[in-house]
Symmetry: C2
Subunit: 212 residues, 2 copies
């Protein structure tokens, strides 16, 4: 079995975690475990959604894959020695250590992105650069020799996970999963990347989601 | 405030619920509540993910919007009088009653899709037709006079929720949310709809996810 560990923590962004979960859990060879400081419920920043952390870091010491989600809570995690230490201890043994959105900041704080290009949520680009990585605005950035893959904001974890499914099993399995989750996107608008959004859309987005 | 109720139940599909949640919770005027038979944790079909049901049906009697997710558990819900009765009692007062994936089967069982076209996961098309709807393979099907919107499998709930954000507030808000969740999809393959997948992909998908 391939163990996929998804860290969860207070003020995580739910879709960052659940997008990759929904893809990877469909591989029969995969077991997904949500890991954190302690077992029990963690809540998103708005407190509207609770998810269960099923295992402590001690219990998940040799995951094959790490998918680190983002969220406002990552601003605290970059200072959290337990999260950083766990990443540093498991990364040498993983097949892939990956992040979605501002999860990249925690990988950066753990030193895993030193000297690498990486992506994150567009609002966290500067902070990522301060943590040793070089931000690029791509949706998914992979460094296969280093076994590091980073995805941009929130929904990009779905794209990354399909690529991970290909890397872990094969393209046929990844394509079958894409069909199972009917990932044939038809967004009603075309403002999903900073390069495509106009100034007013960017300003409204910043108003709706002020930086912590 | 606009109350968005997302029913949860054993063997629900997490992304069906969390995709729309992630979009709609970003509207400052929206409060999302996860509702079900009883408060407490519900688990996905594989038991790998637990989410919290925060309110009982009695506590959510006049939601403005319903987003009914799918999952293997819906095969039981179509026989569940509490879920059907709740839908029948709240629908006359909602702005929109919607579903993702096989959530449409429960809307159908409650009689809400009688005589309407609707969409669901491609594997549930026949069952949807047996429940009074006419299946069409579109990603999102809306009937604004009836205030009913259905989305196809799993990931299509994200597209539907962006449209809902536009209907509930305006296009500018929906575009800002699309930017915040960086929904600029770039799937690595193109097998996300039945019309695009080849026979082998379809067969493998059916093998990976046998019908209950």
């Amino acid at each position: 079995m391939t163990q996929v560990a998804i860290p969860v923590f207070p003020r995580f962004t739910a879709l960052d975690a659940v997008g990759p979960y929904e893809v990877l859990q469909r591989l029969p060879s995969v077991d997904v475990v949500f890991v954190g400081h302690q077992r029990g419920e963690v809540r998103t920043a708005n407190h509207m959604l609770g998810m269960t952390c099923d295992a402590t870091f001690d219990e998940v010491s040799t995951p094959d894959v790490v998918v680190f989600p983002g969220g406002p809570g990552t601003r605290i995690l970059v200072e959290d020695q337990t999260f950083r230490g766990w990443l540093q201890s498991v990364h040498p043994h993983t097949k892939f250590t990956t992040s979605v959105c501002t999860g990249a900041l925690v990988l950066g704080a753990a030193g895993l992105l030193d000297g690498l290009t990486a992506t994150t949520h567009w609002r966290a680009a500067e902070q990522l650069n301060e943590l040793g990585a070089t931000y690029v605005p791509d949706r998914v950035v992979e460094h296969l020799p280093q076994r590091i893959i980073t995805a941009a904001g929130v929904s990009s974890g779905i794209d990354m996970a399909l690529r991970l499914a290909e890397l872990l099993v094969d393209r046929e399995a990844a394509e079958a999963i894409q069909l199972l989750i009917e990932y044939d996107p038809q967004p009603p608008f075309d403002s999903g990347a900073l390069a495509k959004a106009d100034t007013a859309t960017k300003a409204l987005a910043e108003f709706l989601s002020p930086l912590p």
